[in-house]
Symmetry: C3
Subunit: 133 residues, 3 copies
């Protein structure tokens, strides 16, 4: 077993460094990958765009798609997703984005409310070396 730190998805690392955020993007422990929580950062402007929850959720998942791709993985390898919503009135919209972006069988998921530093949603994922589908 090795523990492998991944910090090299270049555009994501650049965006985070802009805010003096130096977390690893992902760390692999055996067959499990843990990731840093992400919000909806536009990788061109390094800003969180002032768009609705659906747009922010999709952008955040797109960015995770890039990070996963850099590891040779995809959204099909995600086993757990945790969403923190600033406004729980957005739950139904978030649920629909989740159903649209992922394909069945779906990953495990937890959604709670939380104040956030920036953005309307903060998403965390865990992934496995072998896809769930």
């Amino acid at each position: 077993m090795t523990t492998t730190v991944h910090s090299s998805t270049p555009r994501v690392a650049d965006a985070l460094a802009h805010y003096d955020i130096k977390n690893a993007t992902a760390i692999q422990v055996g067959d499990l990958y843990v990731f840093s929580g992400m919000t909806a950062i536009d990788l061109d402007t390094f800003e969180v765009p002032d768009i609705d929850l659906a747009g922010q959720a999709r952008l955040t998942l797109e960015n995770f798609g890039l990070i996963l791709s850099d590891l040779g993985l995809s959204l099909d390898h995600v086993v757990k997703i945790n969403a923190h919503l600033v406004d729980l009135e957005d739950f139904a919209v978030w649920n629909q984005v989740f159903l649209d972006v992922f394909e069945p069988p779906y990953p495990c998921r937890t959604t709670v409310g939380a104040p956030l530093v920036v953005g309307k949603i903060e998403i965390e994922i865990m992934a496995a070396a072998v896809p769930r589908r």
Copy 2:
């Protein structure tokens, strides 16, 4: 290593589908199981009963007991439990339910406050293939 998705505890899946929730109930990655967060859903009515925190916490843990049993596991296999409480005044009651329902040596645990979509408590667990006791 395989990644195995479990969505089949029938009464739990029925209750979640009632709300268009299609998350996996549990996913096994090697010797570790991750689960979707759960609140206190009555599996007969599909509603969250208007009962106190102690009752809601016990019902949520009972439902996890069913899910675990369906996987050939039990509450003795839980290694981590995360509780989100709408009202932190309920912490002492939640702590007592935890001490009553689990048996020593206890799992790891974190409790924080959070607004929730429904119910007074949202519980997440992680479990291992080998019991902690």
Copy 3:
């Protein structure tokens, strides 16, 4: 594979027992360690000192250092850290403590806001049997 429960860092266990908290301190599942969430408990007085966020964050991480050391690990084995802040205005200070206490390559991290039972910060970690650095 075995599941090993660790509850024996004596000063931490004493502090938690003072509040009738009987969670395991850490549980090892294969090469992964999960831990109970911790706030800034002074291990001599069993109180959360009335100090600023920087001091509370450092104390919490010092206590995790003791727990990790008791397992033959160190902060270099931490792969994921989740921080819950009562006041998100403290994020920049928390980020600086994180950069000071850990050494690169840094672990994965998520920070959200949350009401807490006690203290200004609640920290959770996951660790690996093999260090990330």
